[in-house]
């Protein structure tokens, strides 16, 4: 950001004169640059706001390959992908990371990616390779969207926390659950898809009718659901939240431990492992990328052991590489989800709108 001050005067002139801008913006932004020799040394990763990596790991990549990674974050997962679709053919970067299985078909149908088979793909779990024959995208991580519960609440009430979708309909759990708007929030959509996978396209509406009668509350986004409404979270304790069940991630309990001071010996929240929907996140080489060689190297790197092991504590997701070890925090406080639900990406692409619409009219209105 030091360039900001340096360029301040130029910026002003730029805003006025416009042509000067190329000089200022260009030197600041090699990746978008006009193909100078310097540009090839930078590889640009476009992603959503949740992307994170340790600086040391990115430095190791530079040392190994000579490429410097520049990260552009632009909004949540849906917005970031849609921006990529809008700029198709003239992308802002070389690699896009962050399209998941609920949006995969939208990306593939729009021809966003150039096929590339990343090195080391044989070490990646087969069930995550949803585009195995064409290699337009490479799986990078998985995460599970599950019901989280407030351990203290259920201990105080001497009530067993729910374990399955069916459990949530029981009178004992009336008015306890808060979830997110499936139309705007990705955990909200994941939870809806979990019920579609469990009860089928005919049965899920009936399930939601019952869930509504059992007092489910819907808020717009994960932040409100988790921080404002869920009694088990750090934020929820401050807001005196009164919902001990929330739709969140299987990795949320370790996060509660990691960011607490002093660190507790036990996570304050638990995961209902029978309510999980599996999300798989992919990366791909953007069609029209200026630095294709760098992009390929970056894709190889994303599934390397080093990056995969760095990921869990930065993005709170699970590695897809079989040789990557999970951090102790995950193995100790996290939940293992044996049988997550899932829905085929093409089926999701075909029906998402309709499912969400009938869900909205059923639950929200």
């Amino acid at each position: 950001m030091n360039t900001t001050t340096k360029c301040a005067a130029t910026a002003l002139a730029a805003a006025l004169g416009v042509t000067v801008l190329a000089g200022c913006g260009g030197s600041d932004d090699d990746a978008s640059g006009s193909g100078s020799s310097k540009a090839s040394k930078t590889v640009t990763l476009v992603s959503h706001d949740s992307f994170n990596a340790s600086e040391s790991v990115l430095k190791a990549f530079t040392k190994e390959t000579g490429y410097t990674v520049k990260v552009l974050k632009s909004g949540d997962a849906g917005a970031a992908l849609n921006q990529e679709i809008l700029t198709k053919g003239s992308p802002r970067g070389d690699v896009f990371f962050g399209v998941d299985n609920t949006l995969l078909s939208r990306a593939l149908d729009n021809g966003l990616f150039t096929p590339y088979e990343a090195k080391g793909l044989d070490r990646v779990a087969a069930d995550t390779q949803l585009d195995a024959d064409k290699h337009r995208v490479t799986p990078v991580d998985t995460g599970d969207i599950c019901i989280n519960y407030d351990k203290k609440y259920f201990a105080d009430k001497k009530l067993a926390p729910p374990q399955s979708f069916d459990d949530l309909l029981k009178p004992a759990y009336k008015n306890l659950l808060v979830t997110e708007n499936a139309a705007t929030s990705s955990p909200g959509l994941g939870f809806l898809l979990g019920t579609v996978a469990t009860y089928g396209e005919d049965g899920y509406q009936d399930y939601w009718k019952k869930l509504k009668n059992n007092g489910v509350k819907v808020v717009d986004g994960w932040e409100q659901a988790y921080n404002e409404e869920f009694s088990g979270s750090a934020g929820g304790k401050k807001t005196k939240a009164d919902r001990p069940l929330v739709v969140s991630y299987a990795s949320s309990p370790p996060v509660e431990v990691l960011y607490a001071e002093p660190r507790p010996t036990e996570a304050p929240t638990g995961v209902a492992t029978g309510t999980c929907f599996r999300q798989i996140e992919f990366a791909g080489l953007l069609d029209g990328a200026k630095n294709e060689a760098g992009g390929k190297a970056l894709l190889d790197f994303l599934i390397s052991k080093q990056f995969q092991e760095d990921m869990p504590l930065n993005m709170f997701v699970n590695p897809v590489a079989k040789d990557a070890a999970l951090p102790e925090l995950f193995t100790k406080f996290g939940a293992t989800v044996d049988k997550p639900t899932t829905v085929d990406p093409e089926k999701i692409a075909k029906n998402r709108e309709q499912w969400v619409q009938s869900w909205s009219s059923l639950v929200v209105k």
Partner: protein, 537 residues
């Protein structure tokens, strides 16, 4: 005038037209038939209906609650008045991400109303309306109160001497003089609430949606550009209409009123009635504005080990256990300040030139340009942001990944404030002074430096302060614009809130508090600078 026109054409009109065109043009042919198609959808009709009535209700409620405040700030002298005036303006420049959180604490479960009377207003439309009052209180207090404090009270007294009752005197003398200002304030509040985004999204829950929220949803989430384009056009038409009426009331207000120095009109409250009024207003401000802001501060200090500055200390480190930002969150403050500074410079140059052009020339074309300068306040950030993406993509204008895009977008929102602050003052500069200077041999530049600059210096500073504060709090456009990894304060707050864990939540509150303090300090400095109160903000 060429420069501001070029700026707006390039960084506002072109991107917006391009993104709307992307939605409405098929093979180069405009498909205006789609407008009717979209508008006849029942869900869209519902959005339009809700947008309109909540904006009307918010405006009425804001006027009811804020007009007594405007009177008190105009006519009474009391200790801490300057500080309080700055405080009520803080919400206006705070990002809604932050405010939504604070406001829930007041209206939601365990909130103030809940504790006292067991009343919860979250996810009801009341939460939205009250939050709108919270945000726009200052608009009324500043616009109406500013004029009120300059009205000569002797005119009303004269009417009473001539036998008019207290109410009749007020109705016949003060009200007509105030009416245009009230109208202008009401229209601004209507504009801001009509295009409300964050408040409705956070407090309304999924059941309520305004046009702005729907445009965001259709563009960013569903990529349904045709529908988004139609909605953008509808909002454009509505905002254009509001601004046209606004420009008309402003012109009416410029009719000569006998204005006096505000210092002469305010005095200490006397009698039980006046004291009760002052008390009532102070209580309203305390409950409606100070308490929600206070909640933020309280939460930022409330660590698990008791009250302390733990979260603030944590802001300095790039997080030992896992790097949330690659840089310490505290660095976001530096980023924000630098962006806001550049944005302020751009806004001052563009806005200043535009204001100067508007003073020198007249005619419908110029008036149209005046309204155009206000349009960015009413056009959704996602439309502008996505428009940037598809228009500024070729060298030498491939700015999509450049940091300059952020201050450019922020300046778009800042320019209207600069123009509105400068225009009245510039218009008041007597042309004969400039002519006299010219006759005495001064070059145009010298004349400007010796005549205009000293007269408008204060207005310029006020404008700069406002542009700065608005840029600092700008969130909507910034979050859509890809940038090298240096988040601004509001973006950093949103990212921290997007994660679980006590430390993240606490740091978000601490950063929000810092943002609030920076805004409050810059506004307080403004209060000290400004003596002239004829500006609209």
């Amino acid at each position: 005038m060429a420069l501001p026109v070029a700026f707006f054409a390039l960084f506002f009109a072109y991107p917006v037209v391009a993104i709307v065109g992307r939605g409405l043009k098929v093979d180069g042919v405009w498909q205006f038939g789609r407008i009717g198609e979209v508008l006849s959808r029942p869900d869209i009709a519902e959005v339009l209906w809700f947008t309109t009535w909540q904006a009307l209700a918010s405006t009425v409620l804001t006027l009811l609650i804020a007009l007594p405040g405007a009177y008190v700030f105009a006519r009474f002298d009391f200790p801490g008045k300057q500080l309080l005036r700055a405080v009520v303006t803080v919400p206006f420049v705070l990002p809604t991400v932050v405010v939504g959180t604070a406001f829930l604490a007041l209206l939601g479960r365990g909130g103030f109303l809940d504790e006292l009377w067991g009343v919860r207003l979250d996810t009801t439309v009341w939460a939205i309306l009250l939050a709108h009052v919270f945000f726009n209180y200052a608009v009324v207090v500043r616009t109406v109160g500013g004029l009120w404090s300059q009205l000569d009270p002797r005119q009303e007294e004269a009417a009473r001497v001539l036998g008019a009752g207290r109410l009749a005197a007020w109705r016949r003398v003060t009200l007509p003089a105030l009416a245009p200002a009230v109208g202008a304030a009401a229209l601004m509040v209507f504009l801001f609430t009509f295009t409300s985004f964050g408040v409705v999204q956070i407090l309304g829950g999924p059941a309520y949606s305004t046009l702005e929220v729907e445009i965001y949803r259709q563009t960013a989430q569903l990529l349904d550009l045709p529908t988004a384009a139609v909605l953008t056009l509808v909002q454009f038409a509505a905002v254009g209409g509001i601004l046209a009426v606004h420009a008309w009331t402003v012109r009416r207000r410029e009719t000569a009123l006998r204005l006096v120095d505000p210092a002469q009109t305010s005095r200490r409250p006397r009698g039980a009635g006046q004291r009760a009024l002052l008390g009532g207003v102070l209580l309203t401000v305390a409950l409606l504005i100070v308490v929600p802001l206070g909640v933020l501060v309280e939460r930022s200090l409330d660590t698990s080990g008791g009250y302390g500055f733990g979260f603030y200390r944590a802001l300095q480190s790039a997080d030992a256990s896992g790097s949330t930002f690659l840089v310490p969150p505290l660095e976001a403050i530096g980023n924000s300040l630098q962006y806001a500074l550049v944005a302020t410079l751009i806004a001052l140059v563009i806005g200043g030139l535009a204001a100067a052009a508007l003073t020198r020339r007249a005619g419908p074309l110029v008036r149209g340009f005046d309204a155009l300068l206000m349009l960015p306040l009413g056009v959704s950030a996602v439309t502008v942001g996505f428009g940037f993406l598809i228009t500024l993509d070729e060298p030498p204008l491939d700015l999509r990944t450049s940091w300059i895009l952020v201050p450019l977008a922020q300046a778009l929102v800042g320019v209207p404030f600069v123009v509105r602050s400068m225009l009245p003052v510039l218009r008041a500069v007597d042309d004969r002074l400039r002519e006299a200077a010219a006759v005495l041999g001064a070059s145009p530049l010298r004349a400007w430096r010796e005549v205009d600059l000293p007269l408008v210096r204060r207005a310029l500073l006020v404008a700069a302060g406002f542009a700065f504060a608005v840029s600092l709090g700008e969130f909507g456009a910034t979050v859509f614009i890809a940038r090298p990894d240096n988040p601004t304060l509001p973006v950093a707050v949103a990212r921290l809130l997007g994660r679980s864990g006590e430390l993240n939540y606490g740091q978000a509150m601490a950063l929000s508090t810092i943002l609030m303090l920076v805004c409050a300090v810059s506004l307080l400095l403004l209060e000290r600078i400004r003596t002239d109160r004829s500006g609209e903000f």
